[in-house]
Symmetry: C2
Subunit: 427 residues, 2 copies
């Protein structure tokens, strides 16, 4: 007699993955920069060499996804072409070229008793990445973890399963070629959703942090349920405040870029706040510019007055991350009311002020409680690459450990190395 | 008709405390250094001025505690005398004298597009401190939070309730005198244990981190149940490894201090590992020294051979934080086996190597995965004051955000301030 068994015992599978990851983490933590970089460069080469396999696997995924009726936006994220494959390979090379954060001395000092203290970067350990439709996350998240001496456990969306498997195969082969453990970048070998639950519970202490990469419902679930730290932002409800002392031409340029350069990224502006003191001169041109660029404008009563094409904004609009060509516009009484609006409706992600007044700017930069605050620059700079971090695994709006773009440095912890010559502590 | 009501509606009380704390945090985050320091100095003055009230309240607590049959160790922690009160006041003055971490630029850089980036320290927000018998935690934890621009919610043990109330009264009066909100250092006004449960659940998002200060069962409960980040160490099972290249006199001095200076602190050594290659010369003198200093030695078979006074160590001894005049001693095959022992039984807190060989030391310092690793110095230096941090709220063994001693800098987060002159992001 045979019993029916589930195809995969997910808890046992994930527990094993966790143990293997922890063992690999001990190796990775001590791996020299050269060895990690060799693996990254080999992976880039293998990705390029396997372009046909990648395209074929991606075509399978695309066919299934179309049959499932995925939205055009999701299909776009899922799709690979030669340009995107080359970008993925190039991204790996760029990460290889970054300085190795591990072992960097962040601070050092001496004490009067002769003890010498160093604060030295060490990897965090095992990082779980739960992502949705973008298969290239396999390569970039895996590479950022490897560079920072961490083990990655990747759990991708089922839509991209075939593509992800081929990308992961390239990474695994590259790790082996460089003499590093396969388990350094592990792919969860099942699309069973129970695997996510196991990761959220922390794999018996073998998972140190989770990075969700995907839509709001994924991030919300991870933030709600994870028993381990999470690097994430639930939303990027970013504001641009145009102050009374703003140059109109600069304000127009920044607002247009902040809203329209890409509407689907977390750093895109969702609400425009205009100082009442310059509304007479600045509001109408800003609104007209946005509408003419193809942006729907939803305004408060005063904004509605300046242009008949403005639709009325409801209370809900102030709290909505559109991720689309829509913007909410409100007239406020100066920087103080602008900051109060941001404190009430914002998501602590990224906010910008446009002003020629350094005092007003200083106040905004100091008082607004967001990961990124900008003066006279577009909110779309909210990106690890633009910060000069050479890539990011995501942007965090929490205040613990990592805040803002999470690059290789943010994927490390530190330890204290203390050197003496026989010092003992007096009573 | 009157209904019987519970004396305190703890969930409602704690929810209100959380809301008040969050409101106060917005004020504290922007409070100038001078104002915070004025409050700290006023508190020191009030503590000195109220020495009689403090002693009287403490006597009440001591009387009740003796009646309850508390252990001598707990009674010692609970007791205040004039010397301890003066130390508490002096501690407040020392914290006032520290540089203000808030607003410090941790890093700054320019990008080719002319954007200027600054990474600036900001407070974390609201910090919950759950402590047991030591009433002076009220002053030192409250002061460290205030200095770092954070709000403190203090929940002390019932044994010290009267003493804590008087200390807190001094702090509250000092805050008012300095024009800061009372709620900046809040004391949970009930000893109902349900209040701890509410804090562990995070007070509706109004508590950002919890620091448990007390015994292992308290820390274990907080680590297990808290839904917010925790800065803590469950135990300090610290090791001293005496290498083949150790100078015997230095080894004796360090081992004696690491074990016996104070046996009840987390940085005290619990296990001594001696390299087999020097056991013939070093083991017997080390063991004899410890025994003659009043320390019980529990050794492996080889250690038992060198001195008839050595008791046999069981497997459990390697995993025990004695916090007492007891030490486990084992002979190991060089630094590699020492590190394997530490990886297996250690608590990632503090470990020391004694050796004259810089290469061996470098390997130990690099590979041992503990918050603090020392070369030729006592493990008892595991202390924020000894690190030059000017006090600590505790020591953390986790790798997130704070690791090792948690001082005012570790009680901060950061934000990015980006200054431009009209920069927009290219497509």
């Amino acid at each position: 007699m045979t019993e029916l068994k589930p195809v995969v015992d997910v808890p046992a599978l994930m527990a094993r993955l966790g143990r293997e990851a922890r063992a690999a983490a001990a190796v990775l933590a001590l791996a020299p920069a050269k060895q990690k970089d060799a693996a990254l460069l080999a992976a880039a080469m293998l990705i390029r060499a396997n372009v046909d396999d990648l395209l074929e696997a991606n075509m399978k995924d695309m066919t299934l996804a179309r049959a499932k009726g995925l939205t055009p936006a999701l299909l776009d994220r899922l799709e690979l072409d030669e340009r995107r494959i080359e970008a993925m390979a190039k991204g790996l090379e760029e990460i290889a070229a970054l300085p190795d954060p591990v072992g960097t001395v962040i601070a050092e000092w001496d004490r009067p008793n002769g003890l010498h203290f160093e604060r030295v970067r060490v990897p965090l350990g095992v990082i779980g990445i739960i992502f949705e439709s973008r298969p290239s996350v396999t390569a970039d998240a895996g590479a950022l973890c490897l560079k920072s001496g961490n083990v990655a456990i990747l759990r991708g969306g089922s839509e991209g399963a075939n593509t992800i498997r081929v990308i992961h195969g390239c990474l695994a082969e590259a790790l082996s070629a460089a003499g590093l453990p396969d388990a350094a970048i592990a792919l969860v070998p099942t699309t069973d959703r129970a695997a996510v639950g196991e990761m959220l519970r922390g794999l018996d202490g073998n998972l140190d942090v989770i990075v969700p990469r995907g839509g709001k419902s994924l991030v919300a679930r991870v933030q709600e349920e994870a028993r381990v730290p999470v690097f994430a932002h639930l939303e990027g409800l970013c504001h641009v405040y145009v102050d009374r002392d703003a140059d109109l031409a600069m304000a127009k340029s920044i607002v247009l870029n902040a809203k329209m350069r890409r509407t689907g990224v977390c750093g895109s502006a969702e609400t425009l706040l205009v100082d009442r003191a310059c509304a007479a001169t600045h509001l109408a041109p800003l609104v007209a510019m946005l509408i003419e660029a193809g942006c729907e404008v939803r305004g408060d009563a005063e904004t509605q007055k300046v242009d008949p094409r403005v639709k009325p904004a409801s209370e809900e609009d102030w709290a909505t991350e559109y991720l689309d060509a829509i913007i909410a516009v409100r007239v406020v009484d100066g920087v103080k009311e602008a900051m109060a609006h941001i404190a009430r409706y914002g998501s602590h992600h990224t906010e910008a002020i446009v002003t020629g007044n350094l005092e007003t700017a200083a106040r905004f930069l100091n008082e607004v409680d967001s990961a990124i605050v900008l003066h006279n620059a577009s909110t779309q700079f909210a990106d690890g690459g633009e910060f000069g971090m050479g890539g990011e695994i995501g942007i965090a709006t929490g205040k613990f450990h990592a805040r803002g773009p999470v690059g290789v440095e943010q994927l490390t912890s530190f330890k204290y190395i203390v050197r003496g010559n026989g010092q003992i502590r007096p009573v």
